[in-house]
Amino acid sequence: MENGNKPLNSSVIRIEDLCVSFGGVPVIRHLDLEIGRGGPTFLLGRSGSGKTTLLRAINRLNECFPGSETRGRVALHVGGAWIEAYAPGTSLERLRRQAGMVFQSPNVLPLSIARNLVLPLKTTLSLPDDECELRMEAALREVHLWDEVEDRLAVPASTLSGGQQQRLCLARALALRPEILLLDEPTASLDFKAARQIEDLLAELKSRYTLVVVSHSLSQAHRLAERVLVLRDGGSIEALPENVFRDRDALLAVMDEIV
Protein backbone atom coordinates (compact mmCIF):
# COMPACT_ATOMS: atom_id res chain seq x y z
CA MET A 1 0.00 0.00 0.00
CA GLU A 2 1.38 3.38 -0.99
CA ASN A 3 -0.48 5.34 1.63
CA GLY A 4 -2.61 4.46 4.58
CA ASN A 5 -5.85 5.64 3.01
CA LYS A 6 -5.66 3.59 -0.14
CA PRO A 7 -8.34 0.94 -0.04
CA LEU A 8 -8.05 -2.62 -1.26
CA ASN A 9 -8.37 -3.01 -4.99
CA SER A 10 -11.37 -5.25 -4.80
CA SER A 11 -13.32 -3.22 -2.26
CA VAL A 12 -16.16 -1.00 -3.43
CA ILE A 13 -17.49 0.37 -0.17
CA ARG A 14 -15.20 1.50 2.60
CA ILE A 15 -16.54 2.60 5.96
CA GLU A 16 -14.32 4.08 8.65
CA ASP A 17 -15.21 5.00 12.22
CA LEU A 18 -18.89 5.36 11.35
CA CYS A 19 -21.21 6.65 14.07
CA VAL A 20 -24.93 7.14 13.47
CA SER A 21 -27.37 8.36 16.08
CA PHE A 22 -31.04 9.32 16.08
CA GLY A 23 -32.09 12.05 18.49
CA GLY A 24 -28.88 11.55 20.43
CA VAL A 25 -29.35 7.77 20.78
CA PRO A 26 -26.43 5.98 19.13
CA VAL A 27 -27.37 3.17 16.75
CA ILE A 28 -24.03 2.58 15.02
CA ARG A 29 -20.86 3.10 17.05
CA HIS A 30 -17.34 3.45 15.60
CA LEU A 31 -17.75 0.87 12.89
CA ASP A 32 -15.09 -0.01 10.30
CA LEU A 33 -15.97 -2.11 7.31
CA GLU A 34 -14.97 -2.88 3.74
CA ILE A 35 -17.33 -4.44 1.24
CA GLY A 36 -15.95 -6.06 -1.87
CA ARG A 37 -17.12 -5.97 -5.47
CA GLY A 38 -19.90 -8.30 -6.54
CA GLY A 39 -21.22 -10.28 -3.65
CA PRO A 40 -23.84 -10.66 -2.45
CA THR A 41 -22.55 -9.49 0.90
CA PHE A 42 -25.09 -10.46 3.53
CA LEU A 43 -25.53 -8.40 6.65
CA LEU A 44 -27.03 -10.41 9.48
CA GLY A 45 -27.86 -9.44 13.02
CA ARG A 46 -30.53 -9.26 15.63
CA SER A 47 -33.55 -6.99 15.20
CA GLY A 48 -32.52 -3.52 16.29
CA SER A 49 -28.82 -4.19 15.83
CA GLY A 50 -28.62 -1.37 13.29
CA LYS A 51 -28.41 -3.34 10.03
CA THR A 52 -30.83 -1.08 8.17
CA THR A 53 -29.20 2.04 9.58
CA LEU A 54 -25.82 0.79 8.40
CA LEU A 55 -27.25 0.12 4.95
CA ARG A 56 -28.83 3.57 4.80
CA ALA A 57 -25.59 5.20 5.90
CA ILE A 58 -24.11 4.07 2.58
CA ASN A 59 -26.55 6.10 0.44
CA ARG A 60 -27.14 8.72 3.15
CA LEU A 61 -30.81 7.86 3.44
CA ASN A 62 -30.70 8.16 7.24
CA GLU A 63 -30.83 11.89 6.64
CA CYS A 64 -34.48 11.55 5.62
CA PHE A 65 -35.31 10.72 9.24
CA PRO A 66 -35.61 13.39 11.89
CA GLY A 67 -32.79 13.83 14.35
CA SER A 68 -30.26 11.69 12.52
CA GLU A 69 -26.59 12.47 12.93
CA THR A 70 -23.77 10.73 11.09
CA ARG A 71 -20.04 10.98 11.69
CA GLY A 72 -17.16 9.08 10.17
CA ARG A 73 -16.24 8.24 6.62
CA VAL A 74 -18.04 6.32 3.89
CA ALA A 75 -16.34 6.03 0.52
CA LEU A 76 -17.82 4.36 -2.57
CA HIS A 77 -15.94 3.24 -5.65
CA VAL A 78 -18.33 4.17 -8.45
CA GLY A 79 -17.83 5.43 -11.98
CA GLY A 80 -14.17 4.43 -11.83
CA ALA A 81 -13.32 6.71 -8.92
CA TRP A 82 -13.69 6.89 -5.18
CA ILE A 83 -16.26 9.34 -3.91
CA GLU A 84 -16.64 10.43 -0.33
CA ALA A 85 -20.32 10.04 0.54
CA TYR A 86 -20.24 12.62 3.33
CA ALA A 87 -17.93 15.19 1.76
CA PRO A 88 -19.58 18.61 1.36
CA GLY A 89 -19.11 18.68 -2.41
CA THR A 90 -20.66 15.25 -3.06
CA SER A 91 -23.90 15.24 -5.03
CA LEU A 92 -26.41 13.46 -2.83
CA GLU A 93 -28.68 12.78 -5.80
CA ARG A 94 -25.92 11.19 -7.88
CA LEU A 95 -24.74 9.12 -4.92
CA ARG A 96 -28.23 7.71 -4.38
CA ARG A 97 -28.63 6.84 -8.04
CA GLN A 98 -25.29 5.06 -8.08
CA ALA A 99 -26.11 3.15 -4.92
CA GLY A 100 -29.69 2.09 -5.65
CA MET A 101 -31.93 0.78 -2.91
CA VAL A 102 -34.72 -1.79 -2.60
CA PHE A 103 -36.82 -1.70 0.54
CA GLN A 104 -38.38 -4.32 2.75
CA SER A 105 -41.91 -3.85 1.48
CA PRO A 106 -42.38 -2.97 -2.18
CA ASN A 107 -42.69 0.81 -2.37
CA VAL A 108 -44.15 1.35 -5.81
CA LEU A 109 -45.27 4.93 -6.42
CA PRO A 110 -49.04 5.38 -6.88
CA LEU A 111 -48.49 5.58 -10.64
CA SER A 112 -48.78 3.31 -13.65
CA ILE A 113 -46.22 0.54 -14.12
CA ALA A 114 -44.41 2.40 -16.89
CA ARG A 115 -44.52 5.72 -15.07
CA ASN A 116 -42.88 4.18 -12.00
CA LEU A 117 -39.78 3.62 -14.11
CA VAL A 118 -39.99 6.63 -16.37
CA LEU A 119 -40.65 9.36 -13.77
CA PRO A 120 -37.28 8.94 -11.99
CA LEU A 121 -35.45 8.78 -15.33
CA LYS A 122 -37.11 11.96 -16.54
CA THR A 123 -36.85 13.80 -13.26
CA THR A 124 -33.32 12.96 -12.23
CA LEU A 125 -31.58 12.42 -15.57
CA SER A 126 -33.83 14.51 -17.88
CA LEU A 127 -33.69 11.72 -20.46
CA PRO A 128 -35.69 12.03 -23.70
CA ASP A 129 -38.82 9.88 -24.11
CA ASP A 130 -37.30 7.23 -26.41
CA GLU A 131 -34.29 6.71 -24.14
CA CYS A 132 -36.66 6.33 -21.18
CA GLU A 133 -38.65 3.69 -23.08
CA LEU A 134 -35.50 1.76 -23.93
CA ARG A 135 -34.22 1.81 -20.39
CA MET A 136 -37.63 0.86 -19.04
CA GLU A 137 -37.86 -2.21 -21.26
CA ALA A 138 -34.28 -3.23 -20.55
CA ALA A 139 -34.79 -2.93 -16.78
CA LEU A 140 -38.08 -4.84 -16.86
CA ARG A 141 -36.42 -7.59 -18.90
CA GLU A 142 -33.51 -7.68 -16.47
CA VAL A 143 -35.91 -8.57 -13.63
CA HIS A 144 -37.98 -10.92 -15.86
CA LEU A 145 -41.09 -8.77 -15.52
CA TRP A 146 -41.40 -7.57 -19.11
CA ASP A 147 -43.40 -10.57 -20.38
CA GLU A 148 -45.84 -10.23 -17.49
CA VAL A 149 -46.53 -6.49 -17.83
CA GLU A 150 -45.75 -5.75 -21.48
CA ASP A 151 -49.42 -5.35 -22.44
CA ARG A 152 -50.52 -3.43 -19.35
CA LEU A 153 -47.86 -0.84 -18.77
CA ALA A 154 -50.48 1.86 -18.23
CA VAL A 155 -52.31 0.17 -15.36
CA PRO A 156 -51.54 1.20 -11.77
CA ALA A 157 -48.48 -0.55 -10.37
CA SER A 158 -50.44 -1.31 -7.21
CA THR A 159 -52.46 -3.90 -9.14
CA LEU A 160 -49.38 -6.13 -9.43
CA SER A 161 -48.76 -8.91 -6.92
CA GLY A 162 -46.30 -8.34 -4.08
CA GLY A 163 -43.52 -10.22 -5.79
CA GLN A 164 -44.10 -8.40 -9.07
CA GLN A 165 -44.11 -5.07 -7.24
CA GLN A 166 -40.80 -5.90 -5.61
CA ARG A 167 -39.31 -6.81 -8.97
CA LEU A 168 -40.69 -3.53 -10.34
CA CYS A 169 -38.90 -1.69 -7.54
CA LEU A 170 -35.72 -3.54 -8.40
CA ALA A 171 -36.17 -2.63 -12.08
CA ARG A 172 -36.77 1.00 -11.11
CA ALA A 173 -33.46 1.10 -9.29
CA LEU A 174 -31.67 -0.73 -12.13
CA ALA A 175 -33.01 1.68 -14.77
CA LEU A 176 -30.94 4.41 -13.14
CA ARG A 177 -27.82 2.30 -13.91
CA PRO A 178 -26.43 1.95 -10.40
CA GLU A 179 -23.20 0.12 -9.62
CA ILE A 180 -24.17 -0.81 -6.10
CA LEU A 181 -27.51 -2.21 -4.97
CA LEU A 182 -28.53 -1.98 -1.33
CA LEU A 183 -31.29 -4.43 -0.47
CA ASP A 184 -33.06 -4.11 2.86
CA GLU A 185 -34.70 -7.48 3.54
CA PRO A 186 -36.03 -7.59 -0.01
CA THR A 187 -37.98 -10.80 0.49
CA ALA A 188 -39.34 -10.22 3.99
CA SER A 189 -42.84 -9.30 2.86
CA LEU A 190 -43.11 -11.91 0.10
CA ASP A 191 -44.44 -15.45 -0.04
CA PHE A 192 -42.12 -18.38 -0.62
CA LYS A 193 -42.38 -18.46 -4.40
CA ALA A 194 -41.99 -14.73 -4.91
CA ALA A 195 -39.07 -14.73 -2.48
CA ARG A 196 -37.39 -17.48 -4.49
CA GLN A 197 -37.80 -15.43 -7.68
CA ILE A 198 -36.07 -12.47 -6.05
CA GLU A 199 -33.29 -14.76 -4.80
CA ASP A 200 -32.76 -16.16 -8.29
CA LEU A 201 -32.57 -12.60 -9.57
CA LEU A 202 -29.95 -11.66 -7.00
CA ALA A 203 -27.89 -14.64 -8.09
CA GLU A 204 -28.03 -13.31 -11.67
CA LEU A 205 -27.37 -9.70 -10.77
CA LYS A 206 -24.31 -10.34 -8.64
CA SER A 207 -22.07 -10.52 -11.68
CA ARG A 208 -23.05 -7.03 -12.81
CA TYR A 209 -23.63 -5.15 -9.56
CA THR A 210 -22.24 -5.03 -6.08
CA LEU A 211 -25.00 -6.34 -3.85
CA VAL A 212 -25.34 -5.63 -0.15
CA VAL A 213 -28.25 -7.48 1.40
CA VAL A 214 -29.70 -7.08 4.87
CA SER A 215 -31.50 -10.27 5.74
CA HIS A 216 -33.14 -12.16 8.52
CA SER A 217 -33.15 -15.39 6.61
CA LEU A 218 -30.24 -17.66 7.46
CA SER A 219 -31.15 -20.10 4.73
CA GLN A 220 -31.07 -17.26 2.22
CA ALA A 221 -27.61 -16.23 3.37
CA HIS A 222 -26.57 -19.86 3.27
CA ARG A 223 -27.73 -20.25 -0.34
CA LEU A 224 -26.70 -16.93 -1.84
CA ALA A 225 -24.00 -15.20 0.13
CA GLU A 226 -20.44 -14.79 -1.02
CA ARG A 227 -19.63 -13.11 2.25
CA VAL A 228 -21.53 -12.89 5.55
CA LEU A 229 -21.12 -10.10 8.06
CA VAL A 230 -22.71 -10.19 11.48
CA LEU A 231 -23.50 -6.90 13.15
CA ARG A 232 -23.69 -6.89 16.96
CA ASP A 233 -25.63 -4.04 18.54
CA GLY A 234 -24.21 -1.43 16.22
CA GLY A 235 -20.80 -1.65 17.84
CA SER A 236 -18.89 -4.41 16.15
CA ILE A 237 -19.06 -6.31 12.92
CA GLU A 238 -17.60 -9.72 12.26
CA ALA A 239 -17.11 -11.63 9.00
CA LEU A 240 -18.13 -15.26 9.21
CA PRO A 241 -15.65 -17.70 7.68
CA GLU A 242 -16.88 -19.31 4.48
CA ASN A 243 -16.87 -22.82 5.97
CA VAL A 244 -19.33 -21.60 8.60
CA PHE A 245 -21.96 -19.97 6.39
CA ARG A 246 -21.67 -22.67 3.73
CA ASP A 247 -22.51 -25.26 6.38
CA ARG A 248 -26.11 -24.90 7.38
CA ASP A 249 -25.76 -26.38 10.85
CA ALA A 250 -22.61 -24.44 11.67
CA LEU A 251 -24.33 -21.22 10.55
CA LEU A 252 -27.33 -21.96 12.75
CA ALA A 253 -25.11 -22.70 15.70
CA VAL A 254 -23.15 -19.47 15.28
CA MET A 255 -26.28 -17.39 14.86
CA ASP A 256 -27.88 -18.96 17.92
CA GLU A 257 -24.87 -17.96 19.91
CA ILE A 258 -24.73 -14.42 18.55
CA VAL A 259 -28.41 -13.60 18.33
Partner: protein, 298 residues
Protein backbone atom coordinates in the same frame (compact mmCIF):
# COMPACT_ATOMS: atom_id res chain seq x y z
CA UNK B 1 -70.92 -15.89 19.82
CA UNK B 2 -72.66 -12.58 19.12
CA UNK B 3 -74.32 -10.67 21.87
CA UNK B 4 -77.26 -8.32 21.27
CA UNK B 5 -76.13 -4.68 20.81
CA UNK B 6 -76.25 -2.58 23.96
CA UNK B 7 -78.56 0.39 24.28
CA UNK B 8 -75.74 2.94 23.84
CA UNK B 9 -74.67 1.26 20.62
CA UNK B 10 -78.22 1.37 19.32
CA UNK B 11 -78.54 5.07 20.17
CA UNK B 12 -75.20 5.93 18.57
CA UNK B 13 -76.04 3.90 15.49
CA UNK B 14 -79.45 5.54 15.17
CA UNK B 15 -77.97 8.99 15.61
CA UNK B 16 -75.27 8.31 13.00
CA UNK B 17 -77.89 7.17 10.52
CA UNK B 18 -80.03 10.24 11.21
CA UNK B 19 -77.03 12.55 10.77
CA UNK B 20 -76.00 10.81 7.56
CA UNK B 21 -79.50 11.16 6.15
CA UNK B 22 -79.96 14.73 7.36
CA UNK B 23 -77.26 16.16 5.07
CA UNK B 24 -78.72 14.97 1.74
CA UNK B 25 -82.20 15.80 3.07
CA UNK B 26 -81.21 19.41 3.80
CA UNK B 27 -79.50 19.76 0.42
CA UNK B 28 -82.58 18.27 -1.26
CA UNK B 29 -84.99 20.60 0.52
CA UNK B 30 -82.83 23.65 -0.22
CA UNK B 31 -82.47 22.74 -3.87
CA UNK B 32 -86.18 21.89 -4.17
CA UNK B 33 -87.21 25.19 -2.66
CA UNK B 34 -84.84 27.10 -4.92
CA UNK B 35 -86.09 25.24 -7.99
CA UNK B 36 -89.73 25.74 -6.99
CA UNK B 37 -89.32 29.49 -6.56
CA UNK B 38 -86.63 30.11 -9.16
CA UNK B 39 -87.50 28.01 -12.21
CA UNK B 40 -90.58 30.13 -13.17
CA UNK B 41 -88.26 33.12 -13.43
CA UNK B 42 -85.77 31.42 -15.76
CA UNK B 43 -85.89 32.75 -19.32
CA UNK B 44 -83.56 34.29 -21.85
CA UNK B 45 -84.82 37.73 -20.92
CA UNK B 46 -83.76 37.08 -17.33
CA UNK B 47 -80.20 37.03 -18.62
CA UNK B 48 -80.31 39.52 -21.43
CA UNK B 49 -83.33 41.81 -20.88
CA UNK B 50 -84.29 43.26 -24.25
CA UNK B 51 -80.87 42.85 -25.83
CA UNK B 52 -80.53 40.03 -28.42
CA UNK B 53 -78.50 37.30 -26.63
CA UNK B 54 -76.00 36.77 -29.46
CA UNK B 55 -75.24 40.50 -29.63
CA UNK B 56 -74.68 40.53 -25.89
CA UNK B 57 -72.45 37.45 -25.91
CA UNK B 58 -70.43 38.02 -29.08
CA UNK B 59 -70.48 41.76 -29.73
CA UNK B 60 -70.64 42.86 -26.08
CA UNK B 61 -73.81 44.89 -26.66
CA UNK B 62 -74.87 46.50 -23.37
CA UNK B 63 -77.46 44.56 -21.36
CA UNK B 64 -79.92 46.45 -19.19
CA UNK B 65 -82.19 44.61 -16.80
CA UNK B 66 -80.49 41.23 -17.15
CA UNK B 67 -78.17 38.89 -15.25
CA UNK B 68 -75.59 38.52 -18.01
CA UNK B 69 -73.24 41.31 -16.76
CA UNK B 70 -73.53 39.97 -13.22
CA UNK B 71 -72.62 36.44 -14.43
CA UNK B 72 -69.62 37.89 -16.25
CA UNK B 73 -68.70 39.89 -13.17
CA UNK B 74 -68.88 36.92 -10.82
CA UNK B 75 -66.96 34.70 -13.23
CA UNK B 76 -64.19 37.29 -13.70
CA UNK B 77 -64.08 37.90 -9.98
CA UNK B 78 -63.70 34.22 -9.08
CA UNK B 79 -61.13 33.54 -11.80
CA UNK B 80 -59.07 36.57 -10.77
CA UNK B 81 -59.32 35.75 -7.06
CA UNK B 82 -58.36 32.12 -7.71
CA UNK B 83 -55.50 33.23 -9.96
CA UNK B 84 -54.13 35.19 -7.02
CA UNK B 85 -55.01 32.82 -4.18
CA UNK B 86 -54.38 29.30 -5.58
CA UNK B 87 -50.65 29.64 -6.38
CA UNK B 88 -49.99 31.58 -3.18
CA UNK B 89 -52.09 29.24 -1.03
CA UNK B 90 -50.55 26.05 -2.41
CA UNK B 91 -47.04 27.46 -2.15
CA UNK B 92 -47.63 28.56 1.45
CA UNK B 93 -49.14 25.18 2.33
CA UNK B 94 -46.13 23.38 0.89
CA UNK B 95 -43.78 25.68 2.74
CA UNK B 96 -45.53 24.99 6.03
CA UNK B 97 -45.66 21.24 5.43
CA UNK B 98 -42.18 20.67 4.04
CA UNK B 99 -39.80 23.48 4.81
CA UNK B 100 -40.83 25.50 7.87
CA UNK B 101 -39.62 24.11 11.18
CA UNK B 102 -39.97 24.74 14.89
CA UNK B 103 -41.02 28.13 16.12
CA UNK B 104 -41.41 29.71 12.68
CA UNK B 105 -43.82 26.96 11.67
CA UNK B 106 -45.94 27.45 14.80
CA UNK B 107 -46.07 31.23 14.37
CA UNK B 108 -46.98 30.99 10.68
CA UNK B 109 -49.64 28.35 11.32
CA UNK B 110 -51.13 30.57 13.99
CA UNK B 111 -51.26 33.46 11.50
CA UNK B 112 -53.06 31.27 8.97
CA UNK B 113 -55.62 30.23 11.60
CA UNK B 114 -56.06 33.87 12.56
CA UNK B 115 -56.63 34.84 8.93
CA UNK B 116 -59.24 32.08 8.62
CA UNK B 117 -61.13 33.60 11.54
CA UNK B 118 -61.43 37.09 10.08
CA UNK B 119 -65.05 37.91 9.11
CA UNK B 120 -65.51 38.81 5.46
CA UNK B 121 -66.88 42.26 6.23
CA UNK B 122 -63.53 43.11 7.83
CA UNK B 123 -61.78 41.97 4.68
CA UNK B 124 -64.05 44.36 2.75
CA UNK B 125 -63.22 47.19 5.15
CA UNK B 126 -59.55 46.39 4.73
CA UNK B 127 -59.88 46.77 0.96
CA UNK B 128 -61.76 50.02 1.37
CA UNK B 129 -59.16 51.39 3.81
CA UNK B 130 -56.39 50.31 1.45
CA UNK B 131 -57.91 52.39 -1.34
CA UNK B 132 -58.25 55.39 0.98
CA UNK B 133 -54.59 55.02 1.93
CA UNK B 134 -53.55 54.75 -1.71
CA UNK B 135 -55.57 57.84 -2.63
CA UNK B 136 -53.88 59.86 0.10
CA UNK B 137 -50.40 58.67 -0.79
CA UNK B 138 -49.09 57.24 -4.05
CA UNK B 139 -52.19 56.98 -6.25
CA UNK B 140 -54.67 59.83 -5.91
CA UNK B 141 -56.96 58.38 -8.59
CA UNK B 142 -57.15 54.85 -7.13
CA UNK B 143 -60.68 53.60 -6.73
CA UNK B 144 -62.54 50.49 -5.76
CA UNK B 145 -63.00 47.97 -8.57
CA UNK B 146 -62.74 44.40 -9.81
CA UNK B 147 -59.07 43.87 -8.98
CA UNK B 148 -59.41 45.19 -5.42
CA UNK B 149 -62.39 42.90 -4.81
CA UNK B 150 -60.49 39.96 -6.22
CA UNK B 151 -57.52 40.77 -3.99
CA UNK B 152 -59.68 40.91 -0.86
CA UNK B 153 -61.51 37.71 -1.83
CA UNK B 154 -58.16 36.03 -2.42
CA UNK B 155 -57.14 36.99 1.12
CA UNK B 156 -60.44 35.65 2.39
CA UNK B 157 -60.00 32.19 0.81
CA UNK B 158 -56.24 31.95 1.25
CA UNK B 159 -56.38 30.17 4.65
CA UNK B 160 -58.61 27.38 3.24
CA UNK B 161 -56.09 26.74 0.50
CA UNK B 162 -53.09 26.87 2.81
CA UNK B 163 -54.63 24.55 5.40
CA UNK B 164 -55.92 21.95 2.95
CA UNK B 165 -52.62 21.89 1.04
CA UNK B 166 -50.62 21.61 4.25
CA UNK B 167 -52.77 18.82 5.65
CA UNK B 168 -52.84 16.96 2.34
CA UNK B 169 -49.04 17.06 1.99
CA UNK B 170 -48.36 16.28 5.66
CA UNK B 171 -50.76 13.35 5.54
CA UNK B 172 -48.82 11.54 2.81
CA UNK B 173 -46.91 8.42 3.91
CA UNK B 174 -43.24 8.93 4.74
CA UNK B 175 -42.45 6.05 2.38
CA UNK B 176 -43.16 8.36 -0.59
CA UNK B 177 -40.46 10.79 0.55
CA UNK B 178 -38.06 7.93 1.20
CA UNK B 179 -38.74 6.37 -2.20
CA UNK B 180 -38.11 9.66 -3.98
CA UNK B 181 -34.91 10.29 -2.08
CA UNK B 182 -33.63 6.75 -2.69
CA UNK B 183 -34.11 7.27 -6.44
CA UNK B 184 -31.92 10.36 -6.40
CA UNK B 185 -34.64 13.01 -6.35
CA UNK B 186 -33.66 16.28 -4.70
CA UNK B 187 -35.99 17.53 -1.96
CA UNK B 188 -37.51 20.01 -4.40
CA UNK B 189 -38.11 17.23 -6.95
CA UNK B 190 -39.70 15.00 -4.30
CA UNK B 191 -42.08 17.83 -3.45
CA UNK B 192 -42.87 18.84 -7.04
CA UNK B 193 -42.94 15.44 -8.75
CA UNK B 194 -44.24 13.13 -6.02
CA UNK B 195 -45.77 14.81 -2.98
CA UNK B 196 -47.67 17.60 -4.70
CA UNK B 197 -49.32 15.36 -7.32
CA UNK B 198 -50.08 12.74 -4.66
CA UNK B 199 -51.73 15.40 -2.51
CA UNK B 200 -53.67 16.80 -5.46
CA UNK B 201 -56.99 15.37 -4.36
CA UNK B 202 -56.86 17.10 -0.99
CA UNK B 203 -55.66 20.35 -2.53
CA UNK B 204 -58.47 20.15 -5.07
CA UNK B 205 -61.01 19.96 -2.23
CA UNK B 206 -59.57 23.18 -0.85
CA UNK B 207 -59.86 24.82 -4.26
CA UNK B 208 -63.53 23.79 -4.51
CA UNK B 209 -64.19 25.24 -1.06
CA UNK B 210 -62.40 28.45 -2.05
CA UNK B 211 -64.32 28.79 -5.34
CA UNK B 212 -67.63 28.42 -3.53
CA UNK B 213 -66.64 30.90 -0.87
CA UNK B 214 -65.39 33.47 -3.40
CA UNK B 215 -68.46 33.12 -5.62
CA UNK B 216 -70.99 33.66 -2.83
CA UNK B 217 -69.37 36.38 -0.77
CA UNK B 218 -71.27 39.65 -0.67
CA UNK B 219 -69.74 41.54 2.23
CA UNK B 220 -66.29 41.90 0.69
CA UNK B 221 -67.45 43.07 -2.72
CA UNK B 222 -70.05 45.42 -1.22
CA UNK B 223 -67.24 47.63 0.07
CA UNK B 224 -64.74 47.15 -2.73
CA UNK B 225 -66.37 47.90 -6.04
CA UNK B 226 -69.62 46.11 -6.86
CA UNK B 227 -72.52 48.28 -8.00
CA UNK B 228 -76.05 47.47 -9.12
CA UNK B 229 -75.91 48.62 -12.73
CA UNK B 230 -72.31 48.75 -13.92
CA UNK B 231 -72.79 46.56 -16.96
CA UNK B 232 -70.15 44.01 -18.02
CA UNK B 233 -66.77 44.45 -16.32
CA UNK B 234 -64.70 46.59 -18.67
CA UNK B 235 -61.34 46.75 -16.93
CA UNK B 236 -59.50 45.47 -13.88
CA UNK B 237 -60.01 48.72 -12.05
CA UNK B 238 -63.59 49.32 -13.20
CA UNK B 239 -66.82 48.75 -11.29
CA UNK B 240 -68.72 45.55 -11.98
CA UNK B 241 -71.88 43.64 -11.19
CA UNK B 242 -71.97 40.32 -9.34
CA UNK B 243 -74.64 37.67 -8.80
CA UNK B 244 -74.62 37.49 -4.98
CA UNK B 245 -74.90 41.26 -4.74
CA UNK B 246 -77.67 41.23 -7.37
CA UNK B 247 -79.59 38.66 -5.34
CA UNK B 248 -79.09 40.59 -2.13
CA UNK B 249 -80.18 43.84 -3.79
CA UNK B 250 -83.31 42.34 -5.38
CA UNK B 251 -84.32 40.43 -2.25
CA UNK B 252 -83.91 43.52 -0.06
CA UNK B 253 -85.56 46.08 -2.32
CA UNK B 254 -88.06 44.23 -4.51
CA UNK B 255 -91.23 46.14 -5.46
CA UNK B 256 -93.19 43.40 -7.25
CA UNK B 257 -93.50 39.62 -6.81
CA UNK B 258 -91.89 39.26 -10.26
CA UNK B 259 -88.70 40.88 -8.93
CA UNK B 260 -88.59 38.44 -6.03
CA UNK B 261 -88.96 35.56 -8.49
CA UNK B 262 -86.11 37.10 -10.42
CA UNK B 263 -83.99 37.04 -7.26
CA UNK B 264 -84.72 33.33 -6.79
CA UNK B 265 -83.89 32.69 -10.43
CA UNK B 266 -80.63 34.61 -9.97
CA UNK B 267 -79.83 32.42 -6.94
CA UNK B 268 -80.39 29.37 -9.13
CA UNK B 269 -78.08 30.85 -11.76
CA UNK B 270 -75.39 31.47 -9.12
CA UNK B 271 -75.71 27.87 -8.02
CA UNK B 272 -75.40 26.72 -11.62
CA UNK B 273 -72.40 28.95 -12.24
CA UNK B 274 -70.65 27.67 -9.12
CA UNK B 275 -71.44 24.12 -10.18
CA UNK B 276 -69.92 24.85 -13.58
CA UNK B 277 -66.74 26.13 -11.98
CA UNK B 278 -66.58 23.03 -9.76
CA UNK B 279 -66.90 20.90 -12.88
CA UNK B 280 -64.12 22.84 -14.59
CA UNK B 281 -61.86 22.43 -11.55
CA UNK B 282 -62.67 18.70 -11.39
CA UNK B 283 -61.89 18.29 -15.06
CA UNK B 284 -58.54 20.03 -14.64
CA UNK B 285 -57.79 17.86 -11.61
CA UNK B 286 -58.63 14.67 -13.51
CA UNK B 287 -56.34 15.68 -16.39
CA UNK B 288 -53.45 16.58 -14.11
CA UNK B 289 -53.88 13.36 -12.14
CA UNK B 290 -53.91 11.25 -15.27
CA UNK B 291 -50.85 13.02 -16.62
CA UNK B 292 -48.97 12.35 -13.39
CA UNK B 293 -50.02 8.73 -13.11
CA UNK B 294 -49.55 7.60 -16.69
CA UNK B 295 -47.59 10.38 -18.38
CA UNK B 296 -50.41 11.19 -20.80
CA UNK B 297 -53.33 13.55 -20.39
CA UNK B 298 -55.87 11.81 -22.60
Amino acid sequence: MTRPPRLEEKVVRGFSWAAALAVPAIVGILLGFLLWRGVPGLSLSLFFGDTPPLDAMLRSAPVFDGLWPACQGTLSLVILAMGLAVPLGIASGIYLAEYATGRLRRVLSFCVDLLAGIPSILMGLFGFALILLLRKTVAPVANTGLLLSALCLALLVLPYLISTTRLAVQGLPHALRLTGASLGFSHGQVVARILLPAAMHGIFCGVILAIGRAAEDTAVILLTGVVANAGAPSSLTGKYEALPFHIYYLAAEYQTPAQLTQAFAAALVLLGLTGLMFAMARCLHARLDKKWKTGTSH
